[in-house]
């Protein structure tokens, strides 16, 4: 279907089903129950982040997964996309489509420039060049370009770029009844939701989420096509042996640059969508640790695989959400069956890993994955499957032996 082989078609259909039915899948517990408070994730803003970060990591994977070039500055493109979109909302109007398009174009232009220079080096030098460019963007966004007193206040510094009531919005309105207009897709407001009640379950279908999900599916589909194309194969060959590639008549630079720009555009798209869902863009989105988080998501899922980026982004956001919700009260409730002393002891320890300490848990998890599971969740899944199939075989073998 759609020019994909059977396996990839299945994969695409599975991802499509997951994305379209996410409001059901992520809300398995009845509304109001304690489990729901903890584990339900079917809220519009969280679901939006799942798919938007999915797009970001899918794009990052086209660069890092295929070529092995580790960019430590991808958050810059995310930030550029975010700012561009907010500017469209300020100057043009509240329709998200022009905003998203401009995000992609701006990120693409910056990726072309930064990529052209950074790709003149490889290995760690490439990483540091991208890091340097990203930090430069971050610092500038934070200082000169964000100084409200200056003439070139593009980013509004620490406060972040936001909509104002007196913005021109030449194709729209500056304000609606004295408040800010909302982002929309040809009149369909991003924040509108339809709620479906079935028994004590409550499911929310949000316009913004579905827009992001559809764009994510398109992005995913394009990435599958790229992975299976001669272009993708060439990139994998560059990763495997650049020396051989050079003596095989291929000028690797344009290929690498194309991959860099594509992944930059994906990041810009993600940034544009973030702003479309919530028209506010801050410089911290460009900080180098934000770039690090993109890398973390890619590694958690499984670098160089198709589904890995989606798993990684989803996993990261989901656990961030759950972990940050667990506080000491919740821990006490969970461990109430223990004797008091033990209960307090365990709560005391676990306290550091949940709630505000979720960074620590994810950091540890990330280290464990790199050490023991370099292929990420995808490799973990494959290993489990192998393990089970071997067990199955053993079981059948032991069964057949007595018969002989």
């Amino acid at each position: 279907m759609l020019g994909l082989n059977k396996k990839d078609t299945t994969l695409l259909l599975v991802v499509m089903a997951l994305a379209l039915f996410a409001p059901f899948i992520l809300n398995p517990f009845p509304e109001g129950s304690s489990l729901a408070q903890m584990f339900n994730a079917g809220y519009p803003d969280l679901m939006q982040r799942f798919v938007i970060y999915g797009i970001l990591v899918i794009g990052f994977n086209i660069l890092f997964g295929l070529t092995g070039y580790l960019s430590f500055g991808h958050a810059a493109f995310l930030g550029i996309g975010s700012y561009s979109a907010v500017w469209v909302f300020k100057l043009i109007g509240m329709n998200v489509i022009p905003a998203i398009l401009l995000s992609m174009v701006m990120a693409g232009i910056f990726a072309l420039l930064i990529g052209y220079i950074s790709l003149r080096r490889s290995g760690i030098y490439f990483s540091i060049l991208t890091l340097a460019f990203a930090q430069m963007s971050y610092n500038l966004a934070y200082s000169v370009l964000g100084n409200p007193a200056s003439n070139y206040n593009l980013t509004n510094g620490e406060t972040g770029l936001q909509l104002l009531l007196d913005d021109p919005r030449i194709l729209g309105v500056s304000s609606v009844d004295g408040s800010l207009p909302v982002t929309s897709f040809f009149g369909l407001a991003m924040r509108d939701s339809y709620q479906l009640e079935i028994g004590s379950w409550l499911f929310t279908f949000n316009v913004g989420y579905y827009l992001c999900a559809i764009i994510m599916l398109i992005s995913f589909y394009i990435s599958i096509r790229i992975f299976r194309s001669p272009f993708g194969m060439m990139l994998r060959a560059v990763k495997s042996n650049q020396q051989r590639m050079n003596y095989t008549g291929l000028n690797t630079k344009p290929y690498l640059l194309a991959a860099f720009v594509i992944s930059g555009i994906y990041a810009g798209l993600a940034g544009g969508l973030l702003s479309s869902m919530d028209p506010l863009a801050g410089a911290e989105r460009m900080h180098w640790t934000a770039s690090g988080e993109i890398v973390i998501m890619a590694i958690l899922g499984g670098v160089g695989t198709l589904i890995g980026p989606i798993l990684g982004a989803g996993f990261n956001e989901y656990f961030k959400n759950i972990l940050s919700k667990i506080n000491d009260d919740v821990l006490h409730a969970w461990l109430a069956f223990l004797p008091d002393g033990l209960e307090n002891f365990f709560v005391g320890i676990m306290h550091y890993f949940v709630g505000k300490g979720w960074h620590l848990t994810l950091g540890l998890l990330f280290m464990l994955v790199i050490i023991f599971l370099p292929g990420g969740l995808v490799e973990g899944g494959q290993r489990l499957m192998k393990w089970f199939s071997r067990k199955d075989k053993n079981a059948t073998e032991t069964k057949t032996t007595p018969a002989e």
Binding site: P230, S240, N241, L250
Partner: protein, 251 residues
């Protein structure tokens, strides 16, 4: 006029004159061996031919065109393919993919990128690769990761990858170094077959005299960066200068 004309090439590394006044003419469709003691400058010469190094002086003409100052990929596109001393293949990719890549590279060059159509939809190129695998006797290994091949198979794959681009000149740097006797003989047979059946010129650097005398129809002896003699194999065998170059080295 040979297909490859090297004139007065010199190359200096700091205080070391690695090549001086090298003149070499490789005739079309011949097998030309370059031999010489360790450190004679053979690999340096080869690197000057493929664009890895740029000689300080002299000229290198391939089929009437200068190769100097061109990038390795451009030189490859002119019709020169290179086999490395230790096989350079795409270890993480399958054997079939290894074979497809050079064919795509030859077709697409630098700026044509096909990012949407699937590899499998390019039937013509797949057939070409398939045929080459057959010729190299590797069809049964097509789904293997190239890194898992034996050393002899890797070498065969690399040669196949080069041949799939239908080069006019094939350069080999010690293709049998470190190989077992059987693998060496297989490689000799393969190269013989290639030079007999194809419209191709082969230049080979080799230490193993058995390989040299089984294949070459012309031999250049390089010593201390300059060609000592260039002659037919029969004459090289008995040449006292050659013996001296080799004995002098080992004495």
């Amino acid at each position: 006029m040979g297909i490859l004309e090297v004139k007065n090439v010199g190359k200096r590394f700091g205080g070391l004159q690695a090549l001086s006044d090298v003149n070499l003419s490789v005739k079309e469709n011949s097998v030309h061996a370059i031999i010489g003691p360790n450190g004679a400058g053979k690999s340096t010469l080869l690197n000057c031919l493929v664009g890895k190094l740029i000689p300080d002086t002299g000229s290198v003409m391939f089929d009437g065109q200068s190769v100097l100052g061109r990038a390795p990929y451009e030189i490859n596109q002119m019709g020169i393919s290179r086999v490395f001393q230790t096989p350079e293949i795409f270890g993480d990719l399958t054997v079939m993919e290894n074979m497809l890549i050079p064919i795509f590279a030859k077709r697409d060059g630098a700026f044509r990128m096909h990012a949407i159509e699937a590899v499998s939809s390019e039937t013509g190129i797949n057939e070409q690769a398939e045929k080459m695998l057959e010729e190299m006797n590797m069809v049964d290994k097509r789904h293997m990761n190239a890194a898992a091949l034996s050393r002899g198979d890797k070498r065969r794959l690399e040669i196949g990858m080069c041949l799939s681009q239908e080069p006019r000149l094939l350069l080999l740097d010690e293709p049998t170094a470190g190989m077992a006797r059987a693998d060496t003989n297989n490689t000799i047979d393969l190269l013989k077959q290639i030079s007999d059946e194809r419209d191709i010129t082969i230049a080979i650097i080799e230490h193993d005299m058995h390989v040299v005398f089984s294949l070459a129809n012309r031999i250049t002896v390089l010593a201390q960066g300059t060609p000592l003699v260039e002659d037919d194999p029969e004459n090289i065998r008995g040449n006292p200068k050659v013996r001296e170059a080799y004995l002098g080295e080992s004495a």
